[in-house]
């Protein structure tokens, strides 16, 4: 099991336990992180599972593809290390990562 912590805008810290290969969005929804709406279910088609990664973790991952960066242009308050959590596959090396969840997705 890999543990990822989601930091909600309210200050809540939610620990999610995931298997390698799950997406970050699945981990968040499974752990009841309310700030991840993920309305399209994980197709990168709605832009409602936006999260912000720490720089060092962001740098270690494969870069987002052009479909994802196009969507990230339209999320609320995008950051340089923003990702759509449905497009991030969790790897063994992500144990202990902390992810910031924005105040609102829409």
């Amino acid at each position: 099991m890999i543990t990822v912590t989601f930091l909600e805008a309210s200050g809540n810290r939610i620990e999610a336990h995931a298997n390698a290969g799950d997406t970050l969005m699945q981990a968040a929804v499974g752990a009841g992180v309310e700030g991840i709406a993920a309305e399209c279910g994980g197709a990168g088609a709605c832009g409602t599972c936006h999260c912000v990664l720490p720089q060092d973790w962001f740098d270690r991952m494969p870069a987002p593809n052009s479909d994802e960066t196009d969507m990230l242009d339209f999320v609320i308050d995008p950051q340089p290390t923003s990702r759509l959590s449905c497009q991030v596959s969790i790897g063994e090396n992500m144990d202990g990562m902390e992810v910031q969840v924005p105040d609102t997705q829409i």
Partner: protein, 413 residues
């Protein structure tokens, strides 16, 4: 085709009993061990959230089967369901963003997505509010109105028309064309409907051409002008521009009217929930979300399998058509506690009324904003709203859900 061994089950989505309450039929299908084969449309019906979600998200399941059946078979199928010999309808309505896949879908979707982001849609709030106020000023003094026909039916088309760049006085025309064009998708359609759908598509096309001409000469800050720029920059063709403009209008029109009607009806059927919402306006967001779950206005979509697959515990060959019964999945007790209870504060509420996967509804923010403004305004303006008829009649058929009319008594504050 897999062996069909299912218990005999009455399933008649055309009748009045289904229109009055489709949920017992959905529950009966959900209780079967495997998906239900609905012979009339050669489709395997999925009613469990887990199955519906899996198929909607599966990239090998497509809206159209053109890629793997070939042009000849596609033409044969179109003739079989009488979807042919209507050149304008075939060119602009039967082919569009919603019906496309792959590169075309992704290219067109990107063009439209940017117009329907929360930031873009929130700019419409004042326009919606002022139009709703204007309509209610005309209706507030009547004690009894048809909430659907006299009120709800006017709002979505007007707002989308404005977004496109259609002059206010022409918005009623758009509504007429939109209703005529989609008439052909009704299960009970006949040749007369076919002719009307074709005629409306032609008129709509000619109207859009003339309007496009004005935007080419003098671009405005509207969607049509921006579509023209996208076309000129090579992101979409002229035909795609027209079909996209038509789809934008039609996709959010009837369905938003339907959910406005069924949402109002739900509040009136569950007065405790109505009181709760009136007492606490901060529940509006969850209330709107619940209205979409409780009576999903577009309860049935389909996908074709392009590969052999396993769905709902059964094996299926490529070419199988699946019915995604969003209206049923949204009442699945495995996903929702007490799914038949209308709860304006329900959270989480991960329903699929806007579909899922790559075809997730682009207009969802606009529909929600229409609902938010309307129900907030009704709460502020009216002291009481009550049903004027015991059992409003709902539209018949599998593909739509909403009251034909909803007579209410209302009293201003």
């Amino acid at each position: 085709m897999p062996q069909i061994s299912q218990p005999a089950m009455e399933f008649d989505p055309h009748g009045s009993a289904f229109a009055a309450d489709p949920y017992p039929s959905y529950a009966a299908m959900r209780a079967l061990q495997t998906p239900f084969y609905y012979e009339e449309i050669d489709t395997w019906m999925l009613t469990r959230m887990s199955d519906v979600e899996a198929v909607a998200l599966n990239k090998t399941m497509l809206r159209n089967n053109e890629a793997f059946i070939g042009e000849k078979e596609r033409q044969r199928q179109k003739r079989a369901i009488n979807f042919h010999d209507m050149p304008y309808h075939e060119r602009f309505v039967q082919v569009n963003l919603l019906e496309s896949e792959g590169e075309t879908h992704s290219r067109l979707r990107k063009v439209v997505f940017r117009e329907f982001t929360p930031a873009m849609i929130s700019k419409q709030r004042d326009a919606i509010q002022s139009f709703v106020d204007r309509l209610l000023n005309e209706l507030s003094d009547q004690d009894e109105v048809d909430f659907v026909g006299e009120f709800a039916a006017h709002v979505p088309g007007h707002i989308i028309g404005r977004m496109l760049g259609v002059p206010d006085e022409d918005c009623p025309l758009l509504r007429h064309w939109s209703e005529e064009v989609v008439r052909y998708f009704d299960p009970g359609r006949g040749d007369a409907d076919k002719q009307r759908a074709e005629q409306a598509t032609k008129e709509f096309y000619e109207y859009l051409l003339a309007l496009l001409d004005t935007r080419e000469k003098a671009p405005q800050d509207d969607l049509l002008s921006r579509l023209v720029s996208h076309r000129d920059e090579g992101r979409l063709s002229q035909d795609e521009l027209i079909s996209t403009a038509m789809l934008i209008l039609m996709a959010g029109h009837g369905s938003t009217i339907d959910v406005l009607g069924s949402g109002m009806h739900a509040l009136l059927k569950f007065p405790d929930q109505h009181d709760r919402l009136r007492a606490d306006g901060s529940l509006m967001k969850t209330a709107v979300q619940e209205m979409f779950r409780f009576e999903s206005p577009l309860p049935f979509f389909h996908r074709f399998a392009t590969e052999d697959c396993e769905v709902g515990g059964m094996r299926f060959p490529a070419g199988t058509r699946f019915g995604l019964l969003y209206g049923a999945a949204n009442r699945d007790p495995d996903r929702f506690e007490q799914p038949d209870t209308f709860d304006v504060a329900r959270a989480p509420n991960r329903h699929m009324a806007f579909g899922g996967g790559g075809h997730f509804c682009l207009g969802n923010h606009l529909a929600r904003l229409d609902m938010d403004v309307i129900f907030s305004t009704l709460n502020a303006r009216f002291a009481t709203i009550e049903l004027a008829e015991a059992a409003p009649e709902y539209k018949r058929g599998l593909s739509v859900r909403g009251p034909e009319a909803l007579r209410v008594h209302w009293q201003r504050r």
